[in-house]
C-alpha cells in the first residue's frame, strides 16, 4: 500500500512537470528569472564587502559560504513546497475540497501538484555556489565536513519548507491573509544569509532560535570552518541542524493538521 501511494505521488509529480513543459517560452523566462534571484543574493554579499572588510566578525569567505548554503536550502524548499503559499486561492476556489475527496494526503498532493520545475535553475545555481563558496573558504575535505556540506542544505530546506507550510496554514483561519507569509519566508532567506551576530537581540532570539533560522547556515558554517561562535554557543550546534529540521517539520505538520481540521469545521 505504501509503495502504491509513493507511485501515486511520483505520477502526480511527473504530471506537473509535463504540464509545465507545455509552456516552453514562459518556462525559459521563469528559469532565467529564478536564476537572477540567486545571482542577486551573491552580488549583495560582494557589494557589502566592498564597504567593510568584516561583517559581524566574519570575513567575505565565511559570509559567502553562509549565503550559498542559505540560498541552496531556500531554492530546494521553494522547489518542493514554495507554492503552498497559493493555499489561499485553493481554499477560496474550493480546489482543496477536490483534493480532500481523494485517498491521499492533501498536503502531499498540493506539494506534488504544484512543484515549480522552473525553480530547478535556482537549485542548480545554489549547488554550484555551495561548491564554489566551500572551495573559496577552504573547507577542510574531511568525510565529516563533506557530509555536513551535503546535509546542511537539505536540513535548511526542511526548515524553510516548514516555514512555508506553517505560514500557508494561516489561510485556513484567515483567507485574506495576503502576503503575510512572505515576510517569514523571503525575509527568512535574507536573515539566514548573514551571520546572526549582526542582528539585534530580540530579532535574533525570534528568528535565529525560535524559528531555527540560525541552523540553516550560520551554525553549520561555523562547524565547517572550525570557528568558535562569537556569541558563545557550543560548537556541537553546527551539527544540530537535522534535529532542528525534524522538529520544525513536525511543528509545521501539526499546524497543517490543525488548519485542515479548522477548515473542515468552518468550511471557509
Amino acid at each position: 500500500m505504501a509503495d502504491l501511494r509513493l507511485t501515486a505521488y511520483r505520477q502526480l509529480l511527473s504530471a506537473q512537470v509535463r504540464s509545465q513543459s507545455q509552456y516552453r517560452a514562459s518556462f525559459v523566462t521563469d528559469v532565467v528569472g529564478s536564476l537572477m534571484f540567486g545571482v542577486i543574493d551573491v552580488v549583495g554579499v560582494v557589494v557589502v564587502f566592498r564597504m567593510t572588510p568584516t561583517l559581524g566578525g566574519f570575513g567575505f569567505a565565511e559570509v559567502f559560504l553562509m549565503t550559498a548554503l542559505a540560498g541552496c536550502a531556500f531554492a530546494l524548499a521553494d522547489l518542493a513546497v514554495g507554492n503552498v503559499e497559493r493555499l489561499r486561492q485553493y481554499v477560496r476556489s474550493g480546489l482543496l475540497d477536490a483534493l480532500l475527496v481523494r485517498p491521499l494526503s492533501a498536503l502531499a498532493q498540493l506539494a506534488a501538484m504544484d512543484v515549480a520545475t522552473r525553480r530547478v535553475g535556482r537549485v542548480a545555481f545554489g549547488v554550484v555556489m555551495v561548491v564554489v563558496a566551500a572551495a573559496y573558504a577552504s573547507v577542510p575535505l574531511t568525510p565529516t565536513r563533506l557530509a555536513l556540506l551535503v546535509v546542511t542544505p537539505i536540513a535548511g530546506a526542511m526548515i524553510f519548507g516548514a516555514v512555508f507550510v506553517a505560514t500557508a496554514t494561516v489561510a485556513f483561519w484567515w483567507v485574506e491573509s495576503g502576503e503575510i507569509g512572505n515576510g517569514l519566508t523571503y525575509g527568512g532567506l535574507n536573515f539566514t544569509q548573514y551571520p546572526i551576530t549582526i542582528y539585534g537581540t530580540l530579532f535574533r532570539r525570534l528568528f535565529a532560535y525560535a524559528i531555527g533560522f540560525a541552523f540553516v547556515a550560520y551554525y553549520p558554517t561555523l562547524a565547517l570552518l572550525d570557528r568558535a561562535d562569537p556569541l558563545g554557543a557550543p560548537a556541537l550546534l553546527g551539527y544540530a541542524s537535522p534535529a532542528v529540521a525534524i522538529a520544525a517539520v513536525t511543528a509545521a505538520g501539526l499546524m497543517w493538521r490543525a488548519g485542515v481540521r479548522h477548515y473542515r469545521s468552518t468550511g471557509s
Binding site: 507511485t7 502526480l12 504530471a15 474550493g94 475527496v101 481523494r102 468552518t266 468550511g267
Partner: protein, 324 residues
C-alpha cells in the same frame, strides 16, 4: 442495505457581521439543520433546494470534506471525516464547478493519473475506461488537453474520472450546470444507464429540474437546512396539487358540459373551440380524450406535464408548518 445514513445531521457556520468600524458580531447560522437521511444501495436520489439551502454542505459532510457540527453520518459504513481516505476509495465525487482533471494534460493522462491515485488494478481500470469511452464517446477527446475541451466535453471527462475506481456511491454537485442542451442530455443518459445497473448509488444536487424528472425516482427537497419533501416526484405533485393539463382544439364548441371526476376546465378560448382541462389523476388523459371524441370532432390535442419548477418554487416560499 443502506449506503448512506444520517441522523440529526447539522452544520453550523459562524459568520461575522460588521457592527461598527472594527467590531464584528459573530452570528451562528445553521446551514444544515437536522437532516435524517437513509439511502439504499442502487438508489438514484435528487437533492434540490434553493441557493444556500444546504445542499453542498450536506454533500461535503457526506464526502468527508466537512465535519458535522452535530449528528451522525455513515457512508458505506464509514465515518466520512475520520476515515476519509478509506471512504475516498469507495465514493466518486463530481463537482460541477471545479475539476478533478489535469488542466494542461491530455484527458488520457488524467485517467492514467487517477488510476495511480486510487491504485486501481490495470485490468479493472481498462474495463471501466472502455465502458465510459463507449458510453460517453470519449475517443476523440482523449488526446486533447483538458483546457481545450468544451464544458460539456469536460463534464464527460469528469464523470469518467469519478468512476474509474469503481465507486459504490457517486456524488454529483450540479453536474449539468452551464451545459448546453445536448450535453445535458448526454450526461443524463449516461447517469440513467449507470443508475439502471443498480450497482452504483447516485446522489445528485441540481438546479435543473429536468435532471430530476429524467433521472430520479426519489426527490429530496431541502430548504433552510431541513428536508421539506422526501419522496417521488409524483408524491410531490400529489402533495402540492399540481396537475397535468390537456389542451384540446375542437372543430365546434362542445354542445354539452363534460363532467368527469377530477377533471376541471381551466380555460376556454376561441369561443369554446380550445379548452384546457386540468386533471388531478382520478381520470386519465386517455379517458378524457375518448369521452371528448364521442362529443365532438377533435382537431388537435396536447398534454402538458405539470411544471415542477412551479411546484418547487411554491415549496421554497411556503411557510413551513412547524415554524408557524
Amino acid at each position: 442495505m443502506s449506503v448512506i445514513e444520517t441522523r440529526g445531521l447539522c452544520k453550523e457556520f459562524t459568520v461575522h457581521v460588521k457592527a461598527g468600524w472594527l467590531r464584528r458580531r459573530a452570528r451562528v447560522v445553521a446551514a444544515v439543520d437536522g437532516i435524517d437521511l437513509t439511502v439504499q444501495r442502487g438508489e438514484l436520489v435528487g437533492y434540490i433546494g434553493p441557493n444556500g439551502a444546504g445542499k453542498s454542505t450536506t454533500l461535503k459532510m457526506l464526502t468527508g470534506v466537512l465535519y458535522p457540527s452535530a449528528g451522525q453520518v455513515r457512508v458505506c459504513g464509514l465515518e466520512p471525516v475520520g476515515q476519509r481516505t478509506r471512504l475516498a476509495r469507495r465514493i466518486g465525487v463530481v463537482f460541477g464547478q471545479r475539476s478533478q482533471l489535469w488542466w494542461d494534460l491530455p484527458l488520457r493522462d488524467s485517467f492514467m493519473l487517477l488510476q495511480h491515485v486510487y491504485a486501481v488494478p490495470a485490468a479493472d481500470h481498462a474495463t471501466r475506461l472502455a465502458r465510459c469511452r463507449q458510453l460517453l464517446e470519449l475517443d476523440p477527446l482523449l488526446d486533447v488537453p483538458v483546457r481545450q475541451l468544451s464544458l460539456g466535453q469536460r463534464m464527460r471527462g469528469e464523470l469518467t474520472a469519478a468512476l474509474l475506481h469503481g465507486p459504490e456511491v457517486l456524488f454529483l454537485d450540479e453536474p449539468t450546470i452551464g451545459l448546453d442542451v445536448v450535453s445535458k442530455q448526454a450526461v443524463r443518459a449516461f447517469l440513467a444507464t449507470l443508475g439502471a445497473t443498480g450497482d452504483t448509488t447516485i446522489v445528485l444536487t441540481t438546479h435543473d429540474l429536468a435532471d430530476i424528472e429524467r433521472l430520479c425516482r426519489r426527490l429530496i427537497v431541502i430548504d433552510q437546512g431541513r428536508i421539506v419533501h422526501d419522496g417521488s416526484l409524483d408524491d410531490l405533485h400529489a402533495r402540492y396539487g399540481s396537475r397535468r393539463r390537456l389542451v384540446v382544439d375542437l372543430d365546434e364548441p362542445l354542445k354539452a358540459e363534460l363532467t368527469l371526476p377530477g377533471v376541471t376546465v381551466e380555460s376556454s378560448q376561441a369561443d369554446g373551440r380550445r379548452i384546457t382541462y386540468a386533471l388531478d389523476g382520478t381520470t386519465t388523459a386517455g379517458d378524457l380524450v375518448s369521452r371528448l371524441a364521442e362529443l365532438a370532432a377533435l382537431r388537435d390535442i396536447s398534454v402538458l406535464e405539470p411544471a415542477i419548477e412551479d411546484v418547487v418554487a411554491r415549496l421554497y416560499t411556503r411557510q413551513r408548518p412547524d415554524s408557524a
